[in-house]
Homo-oligomer: 515 residues x 2
Amino acid sequence: MAPSFPTNGGFRLAPPTALYSEVQISRIDHCIPLPSVLKKPFNIVDGPQSSSAANPDEIAKLFPHLFGQPSVTLLPIESDAVQPSHNLKIGVVLSGGQAPGGHNVISGIFDYLQDLAKGSILYGFRGGPAGIMKCKYVELTSHYIHPYRNQGGFDMIRSGRDKIETPEQFKQAEETVQKLDLDGLVVIGGDDSNTNACLLAEYFRSKNIKTLVIGCPKTIDGDLKCKEVPTSFGFDTACKIYAEMIGNVMIDARSTGKYYHFVRLMGRAASHITLECALQTHPNITIIGEEAQHLIAELNEIMASCSVDEGGLWKKKLTDQSLKLYEFLPQAIREQLMLERDPHGNVQVAKIETEKMLIQMVETELEKRKHEGTYKAVFKGQTHFFGYEGRCGLPTNFDSTYCYALGYGAGALLQSGKTGLISSVGNLCAPVEEWTVAGTALTSLMDVERRHGKFKPVIKKAMVELEGAPFKEFASLRDEWALKNHYISPGPIQFTGPGSDAISYTLGLELGAQP
Amino acid sequence: MAPSFPTNGGFRLAPPTALYSEVQISRIDHCIPLPSVLKKPFNIVDGPQSSSAANPDEIAKLFPHLFGQPSVTLLPIESDAVQPSHNLKIGVVLSGGQAPGGHNVISGIFDYLQDLAKGSILYGFRGGPAGIMKCKYVELTSHYIHPYRNQGGFDMIRSGRDKIETPEQFKQAEETVQKLDLDGLVVIGGDDSNTNACLLAEYFRSKNIKTLVIGCPKTIDGDLKCKEVPTSFGFDTACKIYAEMIGNVMIDARSTGKYYHFVRLMGRAASHITLECALQTHPNITIIGEEAQHLIAELNEIMASCSVDEGGLWKKKLTDQSLKLYEFLPQAIREQLMLERDPHGNVQVAKIETEKMLIQMVETELEKRKHEGTYKAVFKGQTHFFGYEGRCGLPTNFDSTYCYALGYGAGALLQSGKTGLISSVGNLCAPVEEWTVAGTALTSLMDVERRHGKFKPVIKKAMVELEGAPFKEFASLRDEWALKNHYISPGPIQFTGPGSDAISYTLGLELGAQP
């Protein structure tokens, strides 16, 4: 697993037969710091009774056993008393799209059990929630986990996008946790997966099953966050990978003066990734979806409520402003806007090839100006899409450390008998030693949505706040960036030396760190 | 230029108003080691009389003043004598596509002049060879160069793809070097640009103009190399950037098991980049163009010699094997193969969307198997093109050091009165101190090609040698890689710590370092 590399003088050469690159190996051996509170005896202290993000009555009905339960905080005890420890059987599952750091959440849980609940067993469910339903799992040993420490990807146990939704599926999950005699289950996922985790917690509690359920905030999109959960893991690494590529392309553009580059980034409705990459690289123009959602919102409503007639009568339902924008769009893009909606009835924004749309629009405008004699130059557009490259990169120092603390904290929450909480690590601008560790009641993050005539609980996606510090910082600078090529090249993610401990602008600005 | 960053506890935050990222700043300050021979007094020693790569009689006719001149080597003198130094006026130009490290070649020339020819002047021609012809230049001072040290891109003086070809253009170049009273000119470019450099050297010599011309080997494609010039700069960085992305996508594939990823890489006919990336990452299947050039070669001949008739009679000129392959290709790809040739009459290989072709071919085959009942799974292909991201990244330690030595050496060659040489730094597997520094007669790398009825000198592109060590290493491993997912994720380029001083497999294997 970790061959040694011969040194050929000043520059080293790794054998192409090795299964890990030199950098991967160095990351396996990287020692992760823990928040101080996790290194010494601690108490888990209840906060006040909680409510929900909205519609508390509906949430209370959906979660009769969990609604109102307090969030908790880990606080150090000034004592040398050995903490009570008992063996646990814990399961862990990766749910949904990959995000750098998932392996470290698992390592964190494992190490917690090793350190504070010796003799415990950790099972990894294979292939996402389907692994729970089908009882497909592997026992995670020290040996098994070792090669995945600080590595990207979810390949240790893989992930999947299945959900535990129907009564039969809940029953299957019940059978699995009973069969494995699980004391706890950690669900690593995004907003939907954490909602699912809370439903499972409620279900087990309602049936007097001992299995506790704790969630962990995962998504490169950065749209699962709140006061208690300052960021989702993977966002930091993915943004830095995209920003590296964007910065390189910018320097390319400045060197040749030949192309205008149009970059689309992976993601769903929220534009946190785009905003963060803009703050890191200073593009001339950045489109933050949250600023111009009117047309899409209106189209969604029309498509949900009535059929789109060939004759175009449906267009009368658009407001003037939206109609004007719609008519301005090239045909190909109009068609993309009318594509099938996702299961939530939303435009599948990431599937719209915005970068091509923009080039077409610029070409149309410049063609017009040429005819008018006001433009004479040659416009060449070059498109880019950065997506898969960012989901499975080696996690940054931040994501490595953050995820490890999330997992270690989840272990502590389970051992103290908590359920229906999401592992919450805070104070992230401070040195790691000062990070706070807590568990936030999942019901406190919830609202309801009406789907198919029924109320469904949802953790509301955090969109870019136009009044938030990151957007305001961006808005205060973008006019200058538009005119001057103040490009910045963040360069490749570093694991040691300068830049290696930088946090994202989004996080820094949201937490009020002085830029 | 180099603001200091506040430390917010454990993790640092750089202000989004800074013009450089933290990593960029750390690179500006990075101290580059020099080969020992350049740090102490040296002699420049002539080798034996040289010839050409082929057709020496024709080359002799094309370069009557330069043909046969010896290559030279810098050798240390065992003496404390101060080396004779005189002021020089030198021009430098970046020619063709960007490659990481170009700025360091310029820094190397500048520092040589500062160290060993105090009072010299360095001019940078703007926008490539056009800058020479139009006498557009900037005086490069310590202050001017500083922010570009170890930075990617060619934005210090930009590049361009113009060539100095016609008698009028040679006359323009002559006027410029006379006006600036240039003692020397350094041309940083690929095979064509170095050929051009040699023609300029011959021209100046023939007209008794004092301006000497030295070339430097630049191209991410890695196809400008020979015994004396082991690699072109930029190849190392570009491959490592592409390999980072490929490695990430591989881990993504292994984590989800959802997509088959098809990656196309930037480049022309030579497949060095693809081969290097394969050795770094272990893909299941790698296509090395040099292995299957027959069809394209035949198509080139047909398209050059006759018109392609609608009826398809031209196909009779294909050999059976090529016709079979052609007929097997999807229509869209056939059309791309018949696209306009580049100025050299070659298929513009990089413009063929091979990744899409392959997915179509796989789909066709699997559809067939489905009908036959031998395939039941779902195949989903995902395409990637990595190109612009790699040309302007921050140069690796290797490219930074290599380029600096190339530039420093070019300064030494000019001061000793040499012309028509390409700066040549060798022994690259050894510690930097032991690297050799030399100048190779450009005419010795040349062959002739018949273009438009005339012999034109060319430096032959180095293609992937099917008998060479890198290909043989790859060939010995690819069957295993095809069956087992032995993916390797090289991770982001590191500037300090593990992996930061790795050289490319291609270079290591070609130079005989034990893998």
